[in-house]
Structure formats: structure tokens, C-alpha cells
Symmetry: C2
Subunit: 333 residues, 2 copies
């Protein structure tokens, strides 16, 4: 079942039919295709995405972030079991936090969400190594669409919570959940400024045993801090919850919050509006990425950029002069 | 004293010499030149900025923001008098909040910072009407450089505090001051999310008379909220202060805070690093603006964009397919 003209590849029809038929093997190959950097693969991938597009968008897109150590994998595993137990099909586009350093997980994929990954109604896809931006591949959005086309009605996108990837993830999900720990002092544990403000809910994880009292205190603190921000135009007020992936406490409330948010935004029209705005931003992001890609990969630009950039950084050259010179080089003048 | 080849314009040498000689009339004309949209003016302006660049960067660049009604003009007037009384020369690149609506201030420029504008060591420049982005002209950075070249060692850039302009202003200033009011409920009075996190200091204005107690309470609340964010890499912890432009209370502390911040960041190297990063971002912003300008102004792109954009927004077309079509139209394929 391979594409005769492209060894190792399926045909567009095969990718599409297999994905829509919920064939996990084809889904995985389709995600591999969209992640490929090869121009021929990208052209094929665009056709596949275009064909599955009418079969997407009916589920819940959930972004989950938190710094390493907050217990994201354990949380998602416990949370995922709860969601599939209620009859949903769950896909997780997971970040492997060690992949960029070691080229592969130290623990190995087996220990990350081990039981969830064996569940017939769950699908776990780690990010490819080196896909950068805090683990969010530029192609995560396409992977999300493929999962939806394959009948997964809850898609979780996991990010590391220390980089710029949160903005990207909040731009492709309906709900953004921030996992925190209690008792890590009076600061946001390395969470980048601005991330808390993107959250549709904050969950204080590991609220169990000796941590419970601290978690409750932290909950009040974060709730007060969130109240300082004006309410979102959607009318949604982000709650702060506590949970324990170990005991399961609080997980049903989080899932209920996510569903409540979805129903509320679907009812008042904000969900459609949010996704339309995301689609629009996606188009213009792609245009900008490709324009800049062409520009910065141009040999004449690459030749002149280091010198001009250095002069601008040092305050020796006016940025507009340098920009003009580079744009002329790009235009071949 | 006009440029024979460009009626109404001076020569590059005249703009540069006049600005460096602290001729306020020439400075104003130079700022008008950089604000001009005419390509010939922009080319002339780039030469002027390039020539004055070695004479810039020795002062303090201070961004001030706050929603309408917080008392920005009154604050800047009182604060400005304090600064010039200490032997500094102060320039204010001021926003006229009414200019975009009425095409000119309702109150008229006379009532905005009236006494400060008559001070020989102060220079006040309102933004041109319709310069958008919350009042920050794309050319505010160039105007700031011209003011520095004209010997103003403190340059204040004022923004409205309700739009995206704060990011732009924080990208061109050393210190970002957020003015707030007490007793406006438990929310940030319409301040856009993320702005508080950019602040190097928050000042609760109108802390006088019956407001004083409320201002002190608000100070504690905001101080607690700011402590939730991790400290900046510069080591600076943003303080929350109270002040009254009417009584002058608290203004010396704010000016002292600004100077302290400047000394601390100059000493630990972060000031130079911050400005170098700003220069670098400026260059790449300009490149992106011009690439996108060329793209979106291209007739073939303008012709196809509405239809393709609509299809993407509605989820009927894959964004990558639309982007590809538009880029081909742009390339004339």
C-alpha cells in the first residue's frame, strides 16, 4: 500500500481514506507526512489536509501547559482515562521534553502515558525530535486536524510552558489549561510572563497528602491575581482549581470546566468566532513565515545580513538603511 | 532656508546641523519629515537619522501609559517640571487621544501640558492625527532619536494604554511606567492583558484627598499581584508607588526610581543589552513590515485575497493552500 511514484508514501486518496476510516497506522503516517520538510511531501500534505478539512472542527481542542516537573504526563494520563471512560475518543499531541537535548526521551516513550497509550480510544503522538519552539511543531495544527478527521473528538496539545510555544498553542486550541504547583514560593515557577493571562483555567496539581493545604492557599492567591485582569470578551472567567493526578481528586471538575466552557462559547457564538480568528491568523502567519523564509534564505541577504545586523545592533547604522539595503539585495538590485 | 530641489524641505545637512544645534524649529521640521509617507521624504529621513545616530542614546527613554482619565497629561506636566528643575532637558512625544476621532484635540493643544510646553528646556510634540496603533506612530522611534540628537536627555513617549501600542513603546524605551487609578474595582480598569507585566513601575495616580486611603490599598494589591510574576532577568523588581500630579506627592520618588533603574541597568550591562536587542528587533520589524507591505499591496494579491481569506476563515480551504496561491500570485506565476 505505497505510492508507486513516491516510494514510502501513500497516495492522497489513501491518506485521506485511511484517516477518515480511523486507521491509526495511516493517521500516524499522515502526521509524519505533514511534519516532513521535503517540498514534495509538503505539497502532498497540503492536499491531504485540504481533503480532510470538511471532517474537522467538531471536537474540543485543549491546550495544556506547565513547567517541567509539574506533572503534565501523569496529569494527562489520568485525565485522559477519565475522558475516554465517558465515551470520548482522545488524541494527545505530546511534547517529549528531552527530545531536543538527547535526541530521544531518556525515560523512553513507554513510561510516558503508558496505560493511556494502550487504550483503544486514545492516540498519543510525541513531537518529532528537534521540532523546537518549546516542543510545538509548526505542523501541530495540521496534526490536530488529522486527529479530528480520524474521529478523535478531544485533542490535547501539550507544551512545555517555558517558551513562546504557548501563544502558538493558544492560537490553535479552544481552551488553554495551565498546570501549576503549590508552595513553590511567591512566583510563577518560571512560567513566562503573560502565560497566566492566556489561561482559561489554572489547575494546582499534586494537591494531595502534605501538599493539600498549600494547594488550597495557592488556589486563593491565584484566584485573586486572576481577578485583577479584566474579564475576557467571551464572558468566561478563568477558575483556579486543585487536582491530583495521583488520587484523581479534582480531575472530573477540570473536565466539567472544559465542557462548560465549550458549551458556553458554542452557545454565545464565541467558539465559532475564535476559530475563525484563528484560521485568519494562521493564514497570515503562514504568509509571513514564507515571505520571511524566502527573504532570509536568499544568498544575497545571507551574505550581507551579518555585517548590517551587527552595525544596527551597535547603533552605528540606521535600521531603515540596513533594511533598505537588504531588501534591494533580495530584489536583485 | 529651504532645499531648492525639494520645495518645503531642508537639505540633509540643514536638518542634521539644525537638530544638533538644538534648533527647535528644525527639530520639529525633521520630525515632520520622518513622519511623512512620501517615498522621497522617507529616503531623506533615512539619511538624516543615519547622520544623527552617533549623537543619540545617552539619555533616558521613558514610556508612560495609562487609560484615558488616569491623568497622563497632568502627570507628565508635573513630572516634567520636576525633571527640568533638576537641570535636565525633557522631550515628550505625546499622544493626542482625541485626534483620531475629531481630527484634532477637543481641548486643543493649549490646555495639554500648557506650562511645560512653554519651558525653555522642554519640548512637546503631539502625534500626528490618525497615526494609529493607540497613538504610537511607526515613526516614534525616529522622533525619539531626533530629540536625543537635539540634546534632550530625557525623552518621554506617552501612549493611551488600551491597544497594542504598549509593546511597541516598551520596545523603544528603557523604562515603562504604568499609571493606574485606585478604587476602580478589582480589575485593571480596561488595561489590556499583559501590559502590567511590561511595567518597570506602577504608579497609582490621584492619590490625594479622599482618594488617599484607596490608593494605599490599591498599592498593596498591585504589589502582591506583581510579586506573582518572576523577577526580570535584569534583576529589577517593579515597585508600586502612589502619586498625585495635583499635590506633587510621590513624583520625586518616581523620578528617583527611574534614575535608579537606569543606573542599575547601566552598571550591570543590561541597558546596553536591552538597547541592542531593541535595535535588532527594530531591523527585523522593518524588514517584515516592508515585505508584508510589498505583498499585501501587490495588485494580484489584492485581487485574490478577499475570496481566499474568506474560504480559510470559514474552514473551507486549507490555509497552506491559500497562502501558496497568494505567494504564487505575488511572484507573478
Amino acid at each position: 500500500m505505497t505510492n508507486p511514484s513516491r516510494p514510502g508514501r501513500l497516495s492522497v486518496e489513501q491518506y485521506v481514506a485511511g484517516t477518515l476510516a480511523r486507521d491509526r497506522y495511516v493517521l500516524s503516517r499522515a502526521i509524519t507526512l505533514v511534519e516532513s520538510q521535503l517540498p514534495a511531501d509538503q505539497a502532498l500534505a497540503a492536499q491531504v489536509i485540504g481533503a480532510v478539512l470538511p471532517h474537522t472542527g467538531r471536537g474540543i481542542r485543549l491546550g495544556i501547559t506547565g513547567v517541567p516537573g509539574v506533572g503534565k504526563s501523569t496529569f494527562i494520563e489520568a485525565f485522559g482515562h477519565l475522558v475516554v471512560a465517558q465515551g470520548h475518543r482522545l488524541a494527545v499531541l505530546a511534547v517529549d521534553p528531552t527530545s531536543q537535548v538527547s535526541g530521544g526521551s531518556i525515560l523512553g516513550d513507554k513510561t510516558r502515558m503508558e496505560t493511556l497509550s494502550r487504550h483503544p480510544e486514545a492516540y498519543i503522538r510525541p513531537s518529532p525530535a528537534g521540532s523546537s519552539l518549546g516542543g510545538v511543531s509548526r505542523k501541530t495544527r495540521e496534526a490536530l486536524l488529522l486527529c479530528e478527521a480520524a474521529g478523535f473528538d478531544v485533542v490535547v496539545v501539550e507544551t512545555v510552558g517555558v517558551g513562546q510555544s504557548e501563544t502558538a498553542v493558544s492560537q490553535m486550541t479552544d481552551f488553554f489549561l495551565l498546570l501549576m504547583l503549590a508552595g513553590a514560593g511567591d512566583e510563577l515557577q518560571g512560567i513566562k510572563k503573560g502565560i497566566m493571562e492566556m489561561a482559561d483555567a489554572v489547575a494546582i496539581n499534586k494537591a494531595d497528602g502534605e501538599n493539600l493545604a498549600k494547594a488550597k492557599t495557592a488556589r486563593v492567591e491565584y484566584q485573586n491575581a486572576l481577578h485583577l485582569f479584566p474579564p475576557a470578551p467571551t464572558g468566561w472567567q478563568p477558575p483556579v482549581l486543585t487536582c491530583s493526578a495521583a488520587t484523581g481528586q479534582g480531575l472530573p471538575q477540570i473536565w466539567e470546566t472544559v465542557q462548560q466552557h465549550h458549551q458556553q462559547l458554542a452557545a454565545n457564538g464565541w467558539l465559532a468566532q475564535k476559530r475563525q480568528a484563528q484560521n485568519l491568523a494562521w493564514l497570515h502567519d503562514l504568509i509571513r513565515q514564507r515571505l520571511e523564509g524566502q527573504f532570509y534564505q536568499h544568498p544575497a541577504v545571507q551574505h550581507q545580513l551579518p555585517t548590517l545586523q551587527q552595525a544596527v545592533v551597535q547603533g552605528q547604522m540606521h535600521a531603515a538603511t540596513a533594511a533598505q539595503a537588504l531588501l534591494q539585495a533580495f530584489a536583485g538590485e
